[in-house]
Symmetry: C2
Subunit: 199 residues, 2 copies
Amino acid sequence: MEHRADPIARMVAQLSRLPGVGRKTAQRLAYYIASQPEEDVRELAAAIWQGRQAIRMCSRCGNYTAEDPCPLCADPRRQRDVLCVVRDPRDVAAIERMREYRGGYHVLHGTISPMEGVGPEDIRIRELLARVGAEEISEVILATNPDIEGEATAAYIARVLKPLGVRVTRLAHGMPVGGDLEYVDENTLHKAFEGRREM
Amino acid sequence: MEHRADPIARMVAQLSRLPGVGRKTAQRLAYYIASQPEEDVRELAAAIWQGRQAIRMCSRCGNYTAEDPCPLCADPRRQRDVLCVVRDPRDVAAIERMREYRGGYHVLHGTISPMEGVGPEDIRIRELLARVGAEEISEVILATNPDIEGEATAAYIARVLKPLGVRVTRLAHGMPVGGDLEYVDENTLHKAFEGRREM
């Protein structure tokens, strides 16, 4: 009720719901928005609302897109026989920024997490199995995060994909490029030793 | 152009324009917004756009408000003869949270800053002089920030108000409550010594 009368309080309440935006930040943003020209604020609100309305999930790979299938799935220059499996659409964007990978994607929209009650049936694993069965896939690259849930998810997917006769790989662990050995955590260092190569 | 086709890129571009929101944060927020229910995103966008449309500047004190005069100026229980002069509407909110001050406000919407080309005529000093002339003001409390521009603005206002025969005061400098002497900067410590009181 208070919010109807007080547009600043309403903005603060809504902005506070964004991840990483605490009350102080929300207040700072609300007063900034209040001070901006109406034109600019209209553009911001439109980008948020029209943007959200325009966003679909690609029915093939699960990435966010304005068209279905998404531009990546529709691109005839992409390799059709390799799939990179990631947790989130953000991960697709990160890999695309690398400008190296030319295959397709499969977005899980989550990772298996017994702690949070997320099982294999809650993320897009069934859809992945269907694709591997229907499309001519020769390799599935598991690019879930190298944390407990990402590893567990990768292990689960590898187990269910193996019987289908598809090659299943996992992104390498190791030293970050430009990293300082002294500051790399011991698990990473251990993996870097394990995965050492001839020079 | 790219943005019309890519709603995420459009959101990122708009969110990046907010203060303190870099490209990475904007991306994080955009993907979060993309993943939220349309209802919630509509509420966020509406709070921003309708909020901005609803916000006026109080014609008396200059605070942001949905009604003119603002609730503070319209409140008959507030003292009418004391004005607290602040830079921004955010400062009004901060002082109101203290729940001690019961007088009126005057929001300058800026501070004098020769470096940034902001002169006395660019902020609401003329309106302050008009109010002191027209309303029965006995005291003007200068509560601009204790930084170079805030001090210069306070000094300027004190100089132009004095001839009007009004009492002009400035917020005290000193140790922050709960502060640790060791970590207080030396200027503040100096001011705290200067302003020491009998116990």
